[in-house]
């Protein structure tokens, strides 16, 4: 091969080399600091508020509570933080929010605690010593039940002293609960049964076979109990929607889902005559219906609905889109007719709502 003289372009190349190096050095000086988003000052109205519970990411301690003021459509994404500036960290995986005796009870699942806040959402106390709490059900002004992911028990807490007083053995992962006729009905994600607890004696009295993965429960206008079981796709067990007569603890009516369905998040509307639930999209079903809805009421499209709520004040439907699970959720508000009214951002992995 012919020899080529390389010295001529050499000078240029060395200069080019120096310039390239300089560019590398300069490129290291670009500012890296992300822009802090300044929360705009929000004037809250007297309208009833909607609180969004944001789980955050498991193990990351980045839960939050967002507030939506329907009076002026204002959103405070980090409401808990803004009300508790001296100790703004909630903990790991905020699961649910209840208001009892004008106090908020924020259940923080993976931190094993319940944060007690006043009606302005300022932390006043906390209930610890819980294993992996999920939901709170007030029984009396003084007593509440707390369901749990792994305690194999319902914990009983004293609302005055903010302490755990006793526990009711209840195997499996207990989830949402309702109270009717001195009975607490407790759903269970790991068992085929929904358990019945006598709230006077604090003891388990009965169990109702509603299917595995039963996690949401509602009381309709006729005082009938509706339990939604998600089934288990891995083991080809179908989901089920059951209507229970709480007087007899008997299932009066039961609807079976199809393969690959994963129904969850059962809700009732203001007049307690229409059920809503998630199964990818949002489904709607009158309590008088004789069959499960075939078509979705609101399609999910590319949305990842992770939480659902129906505003008891005005029939609006709130759905939380968790997107890729690692960014701010988008909360969609739909009218009773299913038309989208607006959307706003909340924290990471919004899983539910508390409507004032």
């Amino acid at each position: 091969m012919a020899q080529y003289n390389f010295t001529a372009p050499l000078f240029f190349m060395i200069n080019y080399f120096k310039i390239t190096l300089l560019l590398f050095v300069l490129s290291s000086c670009v500012k890296d600091k992300p822009q802090d988003v300044i929360q705009p000052q929000v004037q809250l109205t007297t309208a009833k508020k909607v609180y969004v519970i944001n789980e955050g990411n498991f193990g990351s301690g980045n839960s939050s509570v967002s507030l939506f003021d329907s009076g002026n459509d204002a959103v405070i994404e980090n409401f808990y933080q803004s009300q508790n500036t001296s100790s703004p960290i909630i903990g790991d995986v905020a699961q649910s929010l209840s208001k009892i005796n004008d106090k908020f009870y924020l259940v923080v699942n993976n931190s094993g605690k319940i944060i007690v806040c006043d009606n302005q959402f300022k932390k006043i106390n906390q209930i610890t010593n819980l294993s992996s709490p999920r939901y709170v059900l007030p029984i009396t002004n003084q007593k509440a039940y707390v369901s749990d992911y792994n305690a194999n028990a319902i914990n009983v807490i004293d609302l005055n002293t903010n302490t755990k007083t006793s526990s009711i053995p209840c195997s499996g992962w207990t989830e949402k609960m309702v109270l009717i006729y001195n009975k607490a009905l407790v759903t269970n994600m790991k068992r085929d049964y929904c358990y019945v607890i006598n709230t006077i004696t604090d003891s388990k009295t009965d169990s109702i076979s509603v299917g595995i993965n039963n996690g949401s429960i509602e009381i309709d206008k006729n005082d009938k109990i509706w339990v939604l079981s998600g089934g288990d796709n891995t083991n080809s067990i179908l989901g089920k929607l059951s209507r229970i007569n709480p007087l007899t603890n008997q299932i009066e009516q039961s609807f079976q889902f199809s393969n690959n369905d994963s129904p969850n998040s059962l809700c009732l509307n203001k007049t307690k005559d229409t059920l809503y639930f998630l199964n990818g999209g949002i489904y709607k079903m009158p309590i008088t219906s004789n069959a499960l809805p075939v078509t979705e009421f609101i399609s999910n499209g590319t949305k990842n609905f992770y939480g659902l709520g129906v505003n008891p004040n005005d029939y609006t439907i709130y759905a939380a889109d968790a997107l890729d699970y690692i960014q701010k959720s988008t909360i969609y508000i739909f009218g009773a007719n299913g038309a989208q009214k607006k959307y706003f951002n909340a924290g990471i992995n919004a899983n539910g709502f508390y409507f004032e």
Binding site: L21, G59, S60, N62, T234, S262, D324
Partner: protein
């Protein structure tokens, strides 16, 4: 050849120049020189060159057109009891996503994710077939003499996953070196205890190397919780670990043309997974047990080399959380059979071709049944040398037939060009891919059998400047890269609301890296300064979810800036190194609304050798997190404050 003086060191340089016939690949030469020089000063007195293996192999081809780096042997000695996660984190621009000491550590290489890095042991990819990634905290650095980092995509040579870069772990022991035995014992903060032994038996036709290691720690370090005003200093609980392993390597020189090697690496790693302050308690533990066996037979003739290789990897991961009654067991088996051939058919051309069959299967309670994935690959390439070996070009094409029906075709055009004695350029353009993992395909619920491989194109170039003035060598390197990956796999909800992976995103990664090295050696004194910088922009270019705010945002846990620097000072048999690491902002959400602050940590490592006739002692000490910096690499995963390691190695040589 026996070398005693510095003059001889320079002679050695010349000898090696001649020896590496082409004398061409000078960045490698520089590395080898450095390694030899440091060995000369701090490890051994004798270096034999008689049987340096000049081999045609895939690593050599893969180096063409790419920036490659080998960890300095003196520095490697100072990480005797650490995992390769620590070595890579402090010495390269690779970002190591570490959940803490002894906990899961994976790579982010040039803006890619853990499964877009190939981790190769003697040329076999050891990534777990279910997860598509390896936990680097379970790979002790002391097992390998040579840790080589290859920057840039090379799927055509290494297959699925060689997207952001590749990490080569290997030993290349020489024949006829006699018997070397060594035993190391170490201890450190938080109940750290290390033990390792190495017996190397090297005859004229046979080498046996046996390494045993055991690393134990209570790992109950203190950390600062700045959110808790009353109780700032907290202790990590339930994080103890016990890593045990054995590596046996055998090499036979059958005759002047045939070499057979058989290697086995068996390890059992038990650890508890900590709870941190968010949670009240944890009863989680994980066992990782792996057996890896490989065999390699090579036939070498003047113009032809052929290799037949096979590997069997068995990985078991048992995860138990008794609090929530979660008992997950998984078992993965991978069988690899491979043939590769190198034919120098002309003075300037070397042809290589090969075939590879890989079969992976996994059994876990999260799959409906045992699932398997088979692959048959064909590779064809040619290396050209032009202009008196000043220009080296390598092109290759590969096709992989997967049992899933996918058949990604990849290829590369790569070139090394030696512009002057001091300046060399490298250029690489490649098509790269990553096949979905078994979990992505078959996990229940959600696994998606219709996933396509992630595919894309990468271009990278580097310019290297190397100069020796008297006793000082300078090495400066600047590299840029650009890569777009389509069909990036992301878990989002599928039918029925269950999360399911789909090919949804396009990700564009680009950036620049620089390396600055000054090495001064005079008589028995050595001073080296190394600075390695990385700048990575890795952004999501498209995502079809409505109101998804991740488009044009930086990928999570991908710092834009990393700067590693160290200063090594050696005199006679003593070396002390000061390390400093800066890692910039890491976003924790895909919409970049939340992030972790940058951190800067320093450490000091030193070793000192005392030589007697047949025995030598090497004393080692380290102080990590010198300035007691409170930092986390990942959200909610605290890292230890200042801590210490000490150890001693006893070595005999006959």
């Amino acid at each position: 050849m026996r070398l005693k003086t510095h003059k001889n060191y320079q002679k050695l340089t010349v000898t090696i120049n001649k020896h590496f016939a082409c004398g061409f690949n000078f960045k490698i030469k520089a590395v080898i020189l450095l390694a030899l020089a440091t060995n000369y000063f701090f490890a051994q007195d004798t270096i034999s060159l008689k049987n340096v293996e000049v081999r045609a192999n895939r690593i050599e081809l893969s180096r063409i057109g790419k920036k490659t780096e080998t960890i300095d042997s003196t520095i490697k000695q100072q990480f005797k009891f650490n995992s390769i996660a620590d070595v890579l984190s402090l010495n390269t621009p690779i970002f190591i996503k570490s959940y803490g000491p002894g906990a899961l550590s994976t790579t982010s290489f040039r803006g890619g994710n853990a499964s877009q890095t190939a981790i190769l042991w003697n040329g076999f990819n050891i990534q777990n077939a279910m997860l598509g990634q390896s936990d680097l905290s379970l790979i002790p650095a002391s097992l390998f003499e040579n840790i080589e980092i290859e920057y840039g995509g090379s799927s055509s040579l290494w297959g699925s996953g060689a997207v952001g870069g590749s990490i080569h772990l290997k030993n290349s022991n020489l024949f006829n070196q006699g018997l070397t035995t060594s035993a190391s014992i170490g201890a450190g903060s938080f109940g750290l205890k290390n033990l390792s032994t190495n017996i190397l038996f090297s005859k004229s036709r046979f080498i046996s190397s046996t390494k045993v290691y055991n690393n134990i720690s209570n790992n109950n370090f203190n950390y600062k919780d700045t959110t808790d005003k009353e109780n700032q200093i907290k202790q990590q609980k339930n994080a103890d670990y016990n890593f045990l392993g054995l590596m046996q390597e055998l090499k036979f020189l059958i005759n002047s043309k045939q070499i057979l090697s058989v290697n086995a690496w068996i390890n059992s790693n038990q650890r508890r997974l900590p709870s941190y302050d968010y949670k009240t308690e944890s009863k989680t533990y994980q066992d990782d047990v792996a057996s890896r066996i490989t065999a390699d037979w090579s036939f070498i003739n003047t113009n032809f080399k052929s290799t037949i290789r096979a590997g069997y990897f068995n990985d078991k991961i048992n995860y138990t959380d008794s609090l929530v009654q979660l008992f997950s067991k998984s078992k993965t088996q991978t069988l690899i059979a491979e043939n590769e051939n190198y034919l120098t058919w002309n003075k300037k051309h070397q042809l290589n071709f090969g075939v590879n069959f890989t079969s992976s299967s996994a059994t876990t309670n999260n799959y409906a049944s045992t699932k398997s994935l088979n692959k048959l690959s064909f590779l064809l390439g040619n290396k050209f040398s032009f202009l008196n070996n000043k220009l080296l070009v390598y092109t290759a094409a590969r096709i992989d037939y997967f049992s899933t029906g996918a058949f990604p075709i990849t290829g590369n055009v790569s070139a090394d060009y030696k512009l002057t004695k001091q300046i060399a350029l490298t250029l690489n353009g490649a098509k790269v891919y990553r096949h979905p993992t078994l979990n992505e395909l078959y996990w229940l619920p959600g696994g998606n059998i219709n996933l396509k491989p992630e595919q894309g194109y990468t271009q990278e170039g580097a310019i290297n400047y190397n100069r020796q003035i008297n006793n000082t060598t300078f090495f400066v390197s600047g590299a840029v890269f650009n890569r777009k990956i389509n069909d990036w796999i992301l878990w989002i909800p599928g039918a029925g609301g269950n999360p399911s992976p789909i090919n949804i995103q396009q990700v564009w990664s680009r950036g620049a890296e620089t390396t600055w090295r000054v090495n001064y050696i005079k008589n028995k004194f050595r001073c080296a300064v190394n600075i390695v910088t990385g700048y990575v922009l890795s952004t999501i270019e498209s995502n079809n979810q409505e109101n998804n705010n991740s488009v044009n945002k930086q990928l999570i846990y991908t710092p834009r800036y990393t700067i590693n620097s160290n200063v090594l000072i050696g005199y006679k048999k003593t070396a002390i190194t000061f390390f400093n690491q800066y890692v910039g902002y890491r976003y924790t959400t895909s919409d970049n609304s939340q992030w972790l602050n940058p951190y800067q940590i320093s450490s000091l490592r030193l070793n000192h050798t005392i030589n007697f006739k047949v025995i030598s002692f090497n004393v080692f000490g380290a102080c990590n997190n010198l300035f007691n910096e409170n930092y986390t690499i990942l959200l909610g995963r605290p890292m230890p404050l200042r801590n210490y390691e000490i150890g001693i190695t006893l070595q005999t040589k006959k």
